[in-house]
């Protein structure tokens, strides 16, 4: 445990979300958004204790294979088929501070682009040794890592010929419920990223680039697995200096 662990929990409000950096709710090229997008203005206000607080998840709940998608669904002695990769990175906030104890949950298609889900209809084969889910909790420096196979791209019903680039879905819990985030990670060099209607819901190219993990040659394990680095940034929070303290604070 580092000295960070002895720090007083932070209680400041979160920075206002830069909504122009995110996709708007209505993005007609991604057709499902048309009927699922709120049309009224959001009610904007500074976070209260109901959003500043959030649940915590202890390292004790994480099983030994939770961050190893190659083995966590495989039969004993077997492993998932596909390109072996390590995905690692840090969870930071907008101030650049590490977010420790953050719960990350990830899910993905198998190497052929097929999900293990009853609503999935793609003809690519199921891998009997691949479930497709994993999770990790960040350490005191905000670091996480997991091992998996590189997911395949897959077609989806939107336009006549739309394909998702290879991607991994991430769900992130920070320290406050207002930081709750779900996003997707893409892979450096994939030309399909720029053709994807879901990627292109994000208006700013720099924001899209924030979702593309570079190949990390330094962390690549020789004769074993290549590495990709994916850092995640959650909303920052104000220091409580000069702020009205909540009663008893």
């Amino acid at each position: 445990m580092s000295a960070n662990s002895n720090q007083r929990p932070e209680t400041g409000g979160f920075f206002a979300r830069d909504r122009a950096w995110h996709a708007p709710a209505l993005t007609p090229e991604y057709k499902t958004s048309i009927l699922r997008s709120p049309q009224r203005a959001l009610l904007s206000l500074d976070g209260t204790i109901s959003e500043i607080t959030g649940p915590v998840f202890g390292h004790s709940m994480i099983g030994e294979l939770d961050n190893d998608l190659i083995h966590n669904y495989a039969r004993p002695g077997e492993s998932a088929i596909g390109e072996r990769i390590i995905v690692h990175g840090r969870v930071l906030d907008e101030r650049g501070q590490p977010v420790r104890g953050a719960l990350l949950e990830f899910w993905q298609a198998n190497a052929g682009g097929r999900y293990r889900h009853k609503k999935e209809t793609y003809l690519a084969a199921i891998d009997p040794n691949f479930g497709g889910c994993g999770r990790a909790i960040t350490d005191d420096d905000g670091r996480y890592a997991f091992r998996t196979v590189k997911p395949g791209p897959y077609p989806w019903p939107n336009g006549v010929n739309d394909w998702r680039p290879a991607h991994i879905h991430f769900s992130v819990f920070g320290h406050g419920f207002a930081q709750r985030l779900i996003t997707q990670m893409y892979f450096e060099g994939d030309p399909m990223i720029w053709k994807c209607p879901i990627v292109n819901t994000i208006p700013d190219r720099r924001a899209i680039e924030q979702l593309i993990a570079p190949l990390d040659w330094g962390q690549t394990i020789p004769m074993d697995a290549r590495a990709y680095k994916f850092d995640i940034v959650l909303r920052g929070r104000r220091s409580t200096l000069f702020e009205n303290r909540l009663e008893g604070n």
Partner: protein, 204 residues
């Protein structure tokens, strides 16, 4: 030139997609043996303090069709109005209450449902008490960034009438979109993603 602020940009949100259950509730979608159980399915135990309630709701799209592939998460105070969180500095919350729940909308009837307790009141930033409420967050295919709203309670009309957040709603007939209706110990609320009954969603 001035000094650099050294701020980072928040990672952009992306839709949870149609297969969100694989990641968040794998046992619900028959991926067994990876985790012991799905997170957020049990908020209470035998010793939890407070009034036991059931909170359930449906999510409807702009054509009034049920959204059956969403995930709802809730976050709430315990019966004394304390959050089970390290950022809670006012006291120690009931250790037998997690305050957090997660539930997919059911593939048949479209309901999410939580067995929980009625939360106590918690203060607004200026010290006024807010009416008892539950924070609700929704993700699904077609939703680009998770939607925040709140669930208030129909039997708290007096407290709701002076709730600092509800008072901020300009179009007063929309207040009821955040109020769950009580029937016995069950509170029910329909979330409308768009249309004339669109729920008030929060940028908070």
């Amino acid at each position: 030139m001035v000094q650099e602020l050294h701020r980072l940009k928040e990672t952009p949100s992306q839709t949870a997609g149609p297969y969100v259950h694989i990641g968040l509730t794998p046992n619900y979608c028959d991926i067994r043996g990876v985790y012991d159980g799905d997170l957020g399915t049990a908020m209470v135990n035998d010793q939890t303090l407070g009034e036991r309630i059931t909170v359930r709701g449906r999510i409807l799209d702009g054509a009034d069709t049920l959204v059956r592939d969403a995930i709802a998460e809730i976050w709430q105070a315990d019966s004394a109005g304390l959050y089970n969180s390290p950022s809670e500095m006012r006291g120690t919350a009931d250790p037998n209450f997690t305050g957090w729940g997660r539930c997919p909308t059911n593939a048949e009837d479209g309901y999410f449902q939580f067995e929980t307790i009625k939360p106590g009141k918690v203060p607004f930033k200026d010290g006024r008490l807010m009416a008892p409420h539950i924070t609700l967050w929704i993700v699904a295919r077609g939703i680009n960034i998770g939607l925040h709203t709140r669930i208030y309670f129909s039997d708290e009309a007096e407290a709701n009438a002076i709730d600092p957040l509800l008072l901020r709603i300009e179009h007063r007939q929309r207040v009821e979109t955040m109020v769950a209706q009580k029937d016995g110990s069950t509170y029910t609320l329909d979330i409308h993603l768009q249309g004339p009954k669109e729920t008030v969603f929060l940028d908070i």
